[in-house]
C-alpha cells in the first residue's frame, strides 16, 4: 500500500468529520415551533408575512416554517409522519383529516377552545363541523368553500339566454347546455369532467343520504340509479358534442385551471371549487365576465351544495408546545390585521368579524366568491361526515380507473361499471371493520 491510499481514507474521514461537526452546531435550537403548509407563491408570501407579524408580537418564539406544493407536501408529510417528525402546526385537507385523526396523529382542539387559547367566539358552528372526526375537532377551518358552476356571462348574453334558476336540476343543466351549444356552436361545458367523485358525493348529500355508513364499512345508500342516470346524461351530452368529450378533456394542454376551456372561451360553463376560481378569473383577463352558480341537483332533491372547509390547521400529537400552536392558530383565524394580509386566499374566512372587516376591501373576484358563499349558505345541505379511511384508495384505484374512465371512453356500459365500482369499493371498505 502506498501513502496515497491513506490520503483517500483520510480525506473521506475529514469530510465526514467536518460535516458531523457542522450539523451538531446547526442542530442546536431555541424555542422553535414548526409550521408547514402547501400552496403557491402568493400563499407563501402572505403566510410568511403573518408569521413574522406574530413573531414580532411574541418575542422569544421562533416559528420555523416549511412550504411545498400540494403533491410534494403530502409526500413530505407522510415521510415526516413515518419518521415521527411532524411539525406543531400543519395544514390539513378534508380528504386526509379523518385518516390522520383516527390513526392518532392529530391532537383534538377542543381542550384548547375550553382553555380559551383558541378563540371560536365569532365562528359559526357550521364552519367548524367539517373539522370534526368522531365528535372531536381535529382541524381548524381556514376558509370556507363550496362547489360551483362558473357561468360565462358573455356567452349567455351572446346566446340571448337568461341565467338558469339557481335551484336548477341536472335536467335543467342538460337543457341549458344544449341550448347554449346550439346557439353558439361552442362547447357548453368544458373541463374538468363532470364525472368527478366529489360530484357523486355531493349528489348523495342532496338526496339526503351519506356516501358511507357511520362506521365507514360500507356505502351509506343502496340505490345507484341517480349516478347511473348522471353518467348516461354525460354520455348523451358528449356524444352530441354539447360538452367536451372525456377524450378531449384529457388532451388539454394543461391539467391546471389556467388553461381550461372557459378561459380560452371554448366553453361557457365550468365546474370548480369556489376557492379556485381566482386562478381562472385572472387567467381569463379583465374583459371577461363570470358568475358563480350553485351546483345542479337531482330532480326533487335538496341543495347539492354544502360548505366545505377548504383546508385546516391541525396540531399533530407529536408537537411538544401545543398551547403555543393553538394560540398561533387562534391568531391566524381571528386577527383582523393578519387577515388583511392573508386576504381570504385560503377561502372565505370563517370568523364573522374577519368577513365583515374584509368585505369593503374586496376586489371583483373576491366579492363574487364571498357573495356566492352567502347565497349558497342560505339553503346549503349539511356536510357529510369526513371520508372513511381507504377513501383515497377507492377514488384513485376504483372510481377513476375502473369506473369513470372505462365508462366515459365507452368501453363498458354504465351499469356494468357501476357494479364493478360497488363491489371493488365494498371490498376496500370491508377492511375498516
Amino acid at each position: 500500500m502506498s501513502r496515497r491510499h491513506f490520503k483517500f481514507v483520510l480525506l473521506a474521514l475529514t469530510f465526514i468529520l467536518i460535516f458531523s461537526l457542522g450539523s451538531a452546531v446547526l442542530a442546536q435550537d431555541a424555542t422553535e415551533m414548526r409550521l408547514v403548509w402547501w400552496g403557491s407563491q402568493s400563499r407563501h408570501d402572505r403566510t410568511i408575512a403573518v408569521v413574522e407579524m406574530y413573531e414580532a408580537e411574541n418575542p422569544g418564539l421562533d416559528i420555523v416554517y416549511e412550504f411545498a406544493n400540494f403533491n410534494d407536501y403530502w409526500t413530505l408529510m407522510n415521510t415526516q409522519a413515518a419518521g415521527g417528525e411532524l411539525a406543531c402546526v400543519m395544514q390539513q385537507d378534508y380528504a386526509y383529516l379523518s385518516e390522520w385523526a383516527r390513526r392518532g396523529l392529530l391532537a383534538p382542539l377542543d381542550p384548547f377552545i375550553e382553555q380559551g387559547l383558541l378563540d371560536t367566539s365569532t365562528i359559526d358552528d357550521t364552519y367548524l363541523e367539517g373539522g370534526r372526526v368522531d365528535g372531536q375537532l381535529y382541524g381548524m377551518n381556514l376558509g370556507s368553500n363550496s362547489q360551483s358552476i362558473i357561468l360565462d356571462l358573455d356567452a349567455f348574453e351572446q346566446a340571448g339566454m337568461d341565467l338558469p334558476d339557481p335551484q336548477w336540476t341536472w335536467d335543467d343543466f342538460e337543457q341549458v347546455a344544449t341550448e347554449l351549444h346550439d346557439k353558439l356552436g361552442i362547447y357548453a361545458y368544458g373541463s374538468p369532467d363532470l364525472g368527478d367523485d366529489q360530484i357523486w358525493t355531493a349528489m348523495m348529500v342532496s338526496l339526503g343520504v351519506n356516501p358511507f355508513n357511520d362506521a365507514g364499512t360500507d356505502f351509506g345508500y343502496t340505490d345507484d340509479q341517480p349516478i347511473i342516470d348522471h353518467f348516461n346524461r354525460l354520455l348523451r351530452l358528449q356524444e352530441a358534442g354539447v360538452i367536451q368529450s372525456y377524450e378531449e378533456i384529457q388532451a388539454a394542454a394543461s391539467t391546471g385551471p389556467e388553461n381550461s376551456p372557459i378561459v380560452t372561451a371554448e366553453a361557457a360553463m365550468q365546474y370548480q371549487w369556489s376557492n379556485q376560481v381566482v386562478a381562472i378569473f385572472s387567467a381569463a383577463g379583465e374583459n371577461r365576465h363570470f358568475k358563480l352558480w350553485p351546483m345542479p341537483r337531482p330532480e326533487g332533491a335538496r341543495s347539492a351544495n354544502y360548505l366545505k372547509p377548504s383546508m385546516f390547521f391541525s396540531i399533530p400529537e407529536a408537537c411538544e408546545m401545543k398551547e403555543e400552536a393553538a394560540k398561533f392558530i387562534s391568531f391566524f383565524v381571528n386577527d383582523l390585521e393578519a387577515n388583511e394580509i392573508l386576504f381570504a386566499e385560503r377561502g372565505v374566512p370563517v370568523s364573522s368579524g374577519v368577513r365583515e372587516h374584509l368585505q369593503p376591501m374586496l376586489d371583483e373576484v373576491g366579492a363574487e366568491t364571498f357573495d356566492f358563499l352567502e347565497r349558497v349558505a342560505a339553503d346549503a345541505s349539511p356536510i357529510f361526515p369526513p371520508n372513511p379511511p381507504g377513501y383515497n384508495d377507492i377514488r384513485n384505484n376504483v372510481w377513476i380507473p375502473l369506473f369513470k374512465e372505462p365508462v366515459l371512453y365507452e368501453q363498458i356500459p354504465v351499469e356494468e361499471g357501476m357494479a364493478i365500482f360497488r363491489s371493488e369499493a365494498q371490498a376496500i371498505l370491508a377492511g375498516n371493520e
Partner: protein, 323 residues
C-alpha cells in the same frame, strides 16, 4: 453455460454474470495477482456508503414487502398476501405492467440508435460543433420540469404543432394525449428526444478510440462505413453495452415523464410501474404493498440485466481479453 437460465435465482445469475464482468482479468493470470487489501481499499468509499445508508433501508423495504405497513402506523406480517393481490386481484397492476413493457421495448432501442447516430455526427472537429453538442443536449436538461409538461401537452394538443404538420401532410389530426392508443407515443417521443445522456457517453467513448486505428484503416483503403463497422463499433461495444444496461434499468424505472406529462392516463395506458408504485405508497398509504411491487420490479430488471450480461460475451469486446 448450458444450464437453463430460468432455473437459477436471479440474484445468483446477476452475480455470476457480474463476477464474469468485474473480474475479467482473472483469465489472464499474468500481471494480475489477487490483492484483497488493495481491492477493498479502492472500493471502500462505495462499500462504506452502501453499508451506512443503503443496506438497512433496503433490508427494511424487503421486510415491509411482507407486511401491510401503511406509513402512518406499524404494519403486520401478512406473508405473501401482497404478492397474491398483485398478481390475482389488482387490475391496475396488470395495466401498469403492460404500459411499462411497451415503453421499454420502444424506448431502449430507439433512444440508443438515435444517440449513437447523433454522437457519430458530432464526433468531428468541424467548426461550431461545440455549439451543436450543447444544443443537442438541451432537451435533456429541460427534462423533468413543469415546463416540459406544458410544452409537450401543447405540442401534441388538438391545435398543436404535431397535428398541424400531420394535416399539412394530408393526415387527419390525432388526439394524441386523449386517445388511449396514442398517449404512450407522446412519452416515447419525449424520451427519444431527450437522448442527450447516452449521446454524451457515446461521444466520450468515441474520443477514447485511438485515432491511429482510423489512420491505419484509411491507409488500408477502408470506406467510412467499413471504418465504422470494423473499428468504431467493436471498440465501442463496452460503452454500447453500458448504455444498453443503463437504459434497460432506467426505462423500467421510468417515472418523471409520466408523472408530469400524462399523470398515468388515459385509461392507465401510461401508468408506468414506478408511478403506480409511488401512488400506492404515498397517495394510498400502502407502503407494504408498494415495497412488494418494488421487489418484483427488481426481479424483472435483474432478469433482463443478467440476460444482457450473459449475451454480452458474444458481442462485447474488451481490451483486457486481448493481449
Amino acid at each position: 453455460m448450458s444450464e437453463p437460465i430460468a432455473t437459477l435465482p436471479v440474484s445468483k445469475r446477476v452475480d455470476e454474470a457480474a463476477s464474469e464482468a468485474a473480474s475479467q482479468p482473472k483469465r489472464r493470470s499474468r500481471g494480475f495477482k489477487q490483492n484483497n487489501a488493495v481491492g477493498y481499499l479502492f472500493i471502500s468509499p462505495w462499500l462504506i456508503g452502501f453499508l451506512l445508508f443503503s443496506f438497512i433501508p433496503i433490508a427494511i423495504s424487503l421486510y415491509l414487502a411482507f407486511t401491510n405497513y401503511d406509513l402512518l402506523s406499524g404494519g403486520e406480517w401478512t406473508g405473501l398476501r401482497n404478492f397474491e393481490r398483485m398478481f390475482t386481484q389488482d387490475i391496475r397492476y396488470g395495466r401498469s405492467m403492460i404500459a411499462t413493457f411497451k415503453y421499454v421495448l420502444l424506448v431502449v432501442p430507439l433512444r440508443l440508435m438515435f444517440a449513437l447516430a447523433v454522437a457519430m455526427l458530432l464526433n468531428t472537429k468541424r467548426r461550431g460543433v461545440y455549439w451543436f453538442r450543447a444544443a443537442y443536449y438541451i432537451p435533456s436538461i429541460i427534462g423533468a420540469s413543469v415546463a416540459v409538461a406544458v410544452m409537450w401537452r401543447q405540442l401534441f394538443g388538438p391545435q398543436g404543432v404535431i397535428n398541424a404538420i400531420a394535416q399539412l401532410l394530408g393526415f387527419d389530426p390525432i388526439n394524441w394525449l386523449g386517445n388511449p392508443d396514442t398517449a404512450i407515443w407522446t412519452l416515447v417521443i419525449l424520451a427519444v428526444w431527450q437522448f442527450g445522456s447516452p449521446m454524451l457517453i457515446f461521444l466520450a467513448g468515441l474520443r477514447q478510440i485511438p485515432s491511429e486505428l482510423y489512420e491505419a484503416a484509411s491507409i488500408d483503403g477502408a470506406t467510412s462505413w467499413q471504418r465504422f463497422y470494423r473499428v468504431t463499433l467493436p471498440l465501442l461495444t463496452p460503452i454500447i453495452f453500458f448504455n444498453l444496461i443503463m437504459q434497460i434499468i432506467a426505462n423500467f424505472r421510468v417515472f418523471t415523464q409520466a408523472f408530469i406529462v400524462t399523470a398515468g392516463g388515459p385509461l392507465d395506458t401510461t401508468l408506468f410501474y414506478t408511478l403506480y408504485l409511488y401512488r400506492r405508497a404515498f397517495n394510498d398509504f400502502q407502503m407494504g404493498y408498494a415495497s412488494a411491487m418494488a421487489w418484483v420490479l427488481l426481479l424483472i430488471i435483474g432478469f433482463f440485466t443478467a440476460l444482457s450480461f450473459r449475451l454480452s460475451r458474444y458481442w462485447v469486446f474488451y481490451e483486457t481479453k486481448e493481449g
